[in-house]
């Protein structure tokens, strides 16, 4: 049974978020990226519709594939924040006083994980809304109905993206225990990107069709991976391990 003091968790989360907000490179690389995609992808669609003779139906798989980007982004961005959250504390030697407080390992782990999870998910949702609105504005005249939101995208946003984000954070915790440098931790945790890119490529080649069932299946797989990584990251994030074994 995991006992948690929610106030402690939230104190750690808000502290970490206020530290991220002061790091411009985190802001630019982590939070601006989804906005760029949310505006950039519809702009490409607008260009194709207005400057090419491609039939609109032929673009439907592309629209759907674009929605996968939000799952990919949910996996990439937390590596930037979470690696800073864990390795950053280690490098700046702020972990020992934090560990000396009357907080449990789980509260610290959850607080830090939420600090990486919440800003990313908020930005992903915000970007998704912008993406959907722009896509519908640019495509409605040709499609004749609102292409977004659709059930696949809903599953991606509400299940796949959060689960991918959690997976990325958990992986970052494990990677952070072996790293002494934020950038290296980010790069290694970037390994999380590989399966999502593979998924995107397979979709582009038509090997996998993005529909509700596929996205639910992916959510199931992600959930299983998350559970496994949860136990692994929890085992890594123990006071004694951190003070004596973290490099």
């Amino acid at each position: 049974m995991i006992k948690l003091n929610r106030k402690n968790v939230w104190t750690i989360t808000t502290k970490d978020i206020s530290l991220f907000l002061k790091k411009k490179w985190i802001l630019y690389s982590a939070l601006i990226l989804p906005l760029v995609f949310s505006i950039g992808l519809p702009t490409i669609v607008w260009y194709i519709i207005n400057h090419k003779d491609t039939p609109i139906q032929a673009l439907f798989p592309v629209f759907t594939a674009f929605s996968l980007f939000f799952m990919v982004l949910s996996a990439i961005i937390p590596t930037v924040i979470a690696a800073y959250s864990f390795v950053g504390e280690k490098v700046e030697k702020t972990l020992e006083p934090l560990l000396a407080t009357p907080t449990t390992d789980d509260e610290i782990l959850l607080g830090k994980s939420l600090a990486a999870f919440l800003p990313v998910i908020i930005m992903i949702f915000l970007s998704a809304v912008i993406f959907m609105v722009l896509m519908d504005i640019f495509t409605f005249a040709k499609v004749g109905y609102l292409f977004f939101p659709n059930w696949s995208f809903v599953v991606i946003l509400l299940l796949d993206a959060p689960l991918a984000c959690i997976m990325s954070i958990e992986l970052s915790v494990i990677v952070s225990s072996r790293m002494n440098d934020v950038r290296s931790a980010q790069q290694l945790a970037g390994i999380v990107l590989v399966p999502f890119l593979l998924l995107y490529i397979l979709t582009e080649f038509g090997v996998i069709t993005i529909d509700v069932n596929t996205m639910l299946l992916i959510a199931g797989i992600l959930a299983l991976i998350d559970i496994g990584l949860f136990f692994a990251s929890r085992a890594t994030f123990q006071r004694e391990e951190i003070l004596t074994k973290w490099k």
Partner: protein, 306 residues
């Protein structure tokens, strides 16, 4: 307040702390002296329930570190100043303290008062909204001390509180610890700065994996160093040395015209030493008692136990 019984920490085949037993009373400032790698930080980490012990036990204010359920309570009751200040450099001084005060569950109404009190006491109030990254080392150390105190802990653990500080900052931190001593706080201080221990601590323990000696600086000087008489003569001759040896003193060290003699009782032994030197034709220029510093005692004991 702190009772340590046969506390041992092993990392595989390496013993970091070996069978450490000692007691620290309430309101006492206790200094743990030892070279790098002696096990001082490991001891403090075990006492703060940050790492587990291999065997033995420690009781802090009636709470045993052995009992997992006590760990949060123990951490609530203590304040730890680690060797690295570990402040959030991107946050202001006030926000650093506020963060820790929240984690120590200081009630909201008291939190502001205490933060203001300690920032004013440590002359940091005017800088309360300035990010810590711009602070000097001394200011950071002061802020870290304030962080250690913000929840009014019963026991303070300070690990090398003046390491890496310039002389001015060192003096300021030492003076502040002396202020805390006046408030009768229980302080467990790790240091390898012997003058610091001598000035601040009521009692010290010399640790080199195992406890070599324990007592007040005065007691250690007396019990471990013994008494020495230093005589300066115009010239040390064989007949002077023969005469002193005939008095039964076993350890006599000659350095040019200085003779250092290990004596049992200077009041009883010095007159006969003076007489013997004069009888042997020596002219005494000065005679004095050699008062060892804690450093002399420390170095002697560490070398003896190496």
């Amino acid at each position: 307040m702190i009772k340590i019984e046969n506390l041992t920490k092993k990392y595989g085949n390496l013993t970091a702390v070996d069978n450490l037993s000692l007691q620290v009373e309430e309101g006492e400032v206790f200094g743990l002296l030892g070279p790098n790698g002696a096990g001082k930080t490991t001891t403090v980490r075990m006492l703060c329930c940050l790492i587990s012990k291999t065997s033995g036990n420690a009781i802090l204010n009636n709470l045993s570190i052995d009992n997992k359920n006590n760990r949060l309570e123990i951490r609530k009751m203590i304040g730890l100043l680690p060797e690295n200040v570990g402040l959030y450099e991107g946050l202001s001084a006030y926000k650093n303290l506020d963060f820790y005060a929240k984690l120590y569950q200081v009630p909201e109404n008291e939190r502001k008062e205490r933060i203001e009190y300690y920032l004013k006491m440590l002359d940091l109030w005017k800088k309360k909204d300035v990010t810590v990254g711009t602070f000097s080392k001394g200011m950071k150390q002061k802020l870290a001390i304030a962080r250690t105190l913000v929840h009014e802990p019963k026991i303070l653990f300070m690990d090398e509180p003046t390491a890496n500080l310039d002389p001015e900052a060192t003096k300021m931190v030492r003076d502040f610890i002396l202020e805390l001593k006046k408030e009768k706080r229980t302080i467990f201080l790790n240091t390898h700065m012997l003058d610091e221990a001598e000035r601040i601590c009521d009692r010290v323990g010399i640790l080199n994996t195992h406890l070599i000696a324990i007592g007040s600086p005065d007691e250690l000087r007396r019990s471990l160093w013994g008494k020495k008489t230093v005589v300066m003569v115009d010239a040390v001759t064989d007949s002077i040395l023969k005469g002193i040896k005939s008095l039964g003193f076993e350890k006599i060290v000659v350095d040019n015209s200085k003779i250092t003699i290990d004596v049992n009782d200077p009041h009883h032994d010095n007159p006969s030493i003076i007489r013997t030197i004069q009888d042997a034709g020596g002219q005494i220029q000065t005679i004095s008692e050699l008062v060892p510093t804690l450093e002399d005692v420390y170095l002697k004991e560490i070398r003896r136990n190496d």
